[in-house]
């Protein structure tokens, strides 16, 4: 029988098992050993592996990212955890100027195997600086790998790969996905880069959902199915390197592509995916495209505005309906309680 565990438990298990397998893996970040244990993802690690391998840090994101790089240069495999992706802005110099570039600018003499875990928030008034999904910043820079798993299975497999990868990996988690449950093998396995997953098969339109928007796309697919539109849903999993071939193959079949990002659209992952698909398919097939993502504003905390800020299953279904049928139909599915958005149960 398949074992069902949560996304949180999958991350914890991957870390726990990799630390047992490889004594060079160490974990640090703000609050990794406090009673809340990063939503539970680091629970039990300090008791098992001790304070030298699992430790909380000063509030010094810039320096501690440099420390991670220095550790990696000395043969360790650090996992640096940030409870908010927004906080990574304090570490950009080390990530972009050093972690990404060391292997190249030192002619291959060194490598920097670090994992940087960070979390995107949503709901319950996360607001301007607890909600940002900034992975496209990192996709822009050669030398960084970026992954945003959406299922417990991939959370474990991607983290194990990230730890073993000899390059810096930005491992991006969405707080709402932490509540997801699903089948996860107990043994160690990896979900390697550059392999997207087709999560639902369909012929009418390709729907790519990134990070938490994968969940909303799966719901949108159900709404669309009700009106006879069969969407193929794809989870890219790894954003860099990106498996564009799987998406191109799907769009070659469907002729329509909607990319729903859990971030802003301008210069974002959705823009990148659509640009690459249209480059590949120009003169091969006419393709209709649509980007969806955050409204181009700062995230507001008040629920009435926040609900307009994010795409959701119904707005996605509505946009895809127009994309498939052509024109503007103002169709919006009636909300189904069985597909209702998972609510974050705050406050915290």
């Amino acid at each position: 029988m398949e074992r069902i565990i949560s996304f949180v438990e999958a991350i914890r298990e991957a870390t726990y098992q990799e630390m047992a397998r490889d004594p060079t893996v160490i974990v640090f970040g703000l609050d990794v050993d406090d009673p809340k244990a990063i939503q539970g993802t680091t629970r039990g690690l300090v008791e098992k592996y001790g304070r030298e391998r699992v430790f909380c840090t000063p509030l010094s994101e810039d320096a501690m990212t440099g420390v991670a790089i220095g550790m990696a240069l000395a043969g360790l495999r650090p996992i640096h955890i940030h409870i908010r992706m927004d906080f990574l802005m304090l570490a950009m110099n080390q990530l972009v100027n050093i972690a990404a570039k060391s292997h190249y600018m030192y002619g291959g003499q060194v490598h920097v195997p670090i994992v940087v875990r960070s979390m995107i928030g949503k709901s319950w008034g996360q607001g301007a600086q607890h909600s940002q999904a900034l992975y496209s910043f990192f996709m822009h820079v050669p030398g960084l790998k970026v992954v945003a798993p959406t299922t417990p299975h991939d959370a474990k497999g991607c983290l194990i790969h990230a730890i073993r990868d000899d390059n810096p990996v930005m491992y991006v988690e969405h707080r709402l996905l932490h509540f997801q449950k699903g089948p996860v093998p107990e043994q160690l396995y990896t979900v390697p880069p550059a392999k997207a997953r087709v999560t639902v098969k369909g012929d009418d339109v390709t729907l790519v959902g990134i990070s938490y928007m994968q969940v909303e796309c799966l719901r949108a697919q159900r709404y669309l199915e009700d009106v006879g539109i069969h969407a193929e849903v794809i989870d890219p999993i790894w954003l860099s390197p990106l498996d564009i071939e799987t998406i191109v193959a799907s769009v070659r079949k469907t002729g329509a592509l909607c990319v729903v990002d859990n971030g802003w659209t301008t210069c974002g992952a959705s823009a990148e995916i659509i640009a690459r698909v249209t480059e590949c398919l120009q003169r091969v097939r006419d393709v209709r495209v649509r980007r969806m993502g955050f409204a181009p504003v700062t995230c507001p905390p008040t629920p009435t505005l926040e609900s307009l800020f994010y795409p959701n299953a119904r707005t996605i279904a509505s946009a895809v309906y127009d994309l498939v049928k052509g024109g503007s139909h103002n169709w919006m599915p009636v909300e189904r309680s069985d597909l209702k958005e998972i609510e974050f149960k705050g406050p915290f």
Binding site: M64, V67, I69, A74, I98
Partner: protein
């Protein structure tokens, strides 16, 4: 001992003089930040180290690279952009590296590598090794926020790292007194609970004090240690020339530093025949290194796309 010091000082000075001489030919296609005048810090510190100790550097790192044992041929070839360079022509003068000799890299972004040294020191302690880590940075780096973050962490974890602040008074063209409310860099380090002192431009004194710190660390005393080494950059911030004409500093200010030249000082402390032999050997080595760079090929086009990621073994 003095012969060894003199060889290292003379070698560093002469390598950079040759770099400066060749620079106008445009064969070196890389901005050079010469260490000329500051060699005593690199030599005094690195003479106190073992081969398995490591250093992290700033962009003004030619002297430290050489003093730690970095390969001269690969250094010159790197500046020429040749595939035989220490980074295959992908790093340039500001990113010299020689892992085999403990030169762990240098950054063009001020202050950046201090944190790497401290992370490395964490690993050294974790691995129960008795090697030490040295972080070289300038007074400009102490303007940066990361400096204070990392002083705190290094002291908190009592790491085997020696901080060497090469205070040459200038960040590009701006004097320390125009940037810092109090020019008390070593006193600021003391606030974090680490031994810290200021050393004047004296290669033997630097060697002596840093050796004592290294021995203490090897004997199991905890770190970090901090030294503010007073020094002076003779040439322009970047490039091979003098820059007294710019007006941000005067030749009069520089005169005492010229008079205190540690290369000359050590030259006078050793036997004349020994000195001649050292100089001949170094000159031959430098000549060979520039020939090596001249004759080496540029990287093939395919090199553009290698080393972005390290592939799994």
């Amino acid at each position: 001992m003095y012969e060894k010091f003199y060889r290292s000082l003379y070698r560093s000075r002469r390598v950079e003089e040759e770099v400066a001489r060749v620079y106008p030919t445009d064969k070196i296609k890389s901005p050079v930040h010469l260490s000329i005048g500051q060699e005593a810090v690199s030599v005094g510190v690195c003479e106190a180290l073992r081969p398995d100790d490591v250093i992290f550097c700033s962009y003004r790192s030619h002297a430290a690279y050489l003093a730690k044992g970095g390969d001269l041929n690969q250094m010159i070839a790197e500046m020429y952009g040749k595939v035989t360079g220490c980074a295959k022509g992908k790093g340039g003068s500001m990113h010299l590296v020689d892992v085999a000799h403990g030169v762990m890299g240098a950054s063009a972004v001020v202050g950046t590598t201090i944190a790497h040294a401290v992370g490395y020191a964490y690993a050294v302690k974790f691995q129960r090794k008795d090697s030490v880590v040295v972080s070289f940075f300038g007074d400009g780096a102490t303007d940066e926020g990361v400096f204070y973050e990392i002083m705190n962490f290094a002291a908190l974890k009592k790491l085997p790292v020696i901080f060497i602040c090469e205070n040459n008074s200038y960040a590009i063209h701006t004097h320390q007194v125009r940037r810092q409310s109090n020019p008390n860099i070593y006193e600021r380090a003391r606030v974090f609970g680490m031994p810290a002192e200021r050393i004047e431009d004296d290669v033997l004194r630097i060697y002596e004090r840093v050796s004592a710190a290294v021995q203490a660390l090897r004997a199991g005393e905890h770190g970090p240690f901090f030294f503010e080494c007073m020094t002076y950059r003779w040439k322009e911030h970047v490039g091979p020339n003098d820059d007294f004409h710019l007006g941000y500093r005067t030749r009069e200010e520089a005169e005492p530093w010229f008079k205190n030249d540690q290369v000359k000082r050590l030259a006078e402390m050793i036997d004349a025949r020994q000195r001649e032999r050292i100089e001949q050997e170094v000159e031959a080595e430098i000549l060979a290194a520039f020939d090596f760079a001249e004759e080496s090929p540029f990287p093939d086009g395919v090199e553009l796309f290698t080393d972005v990621f390290r592939e799994a073994k």
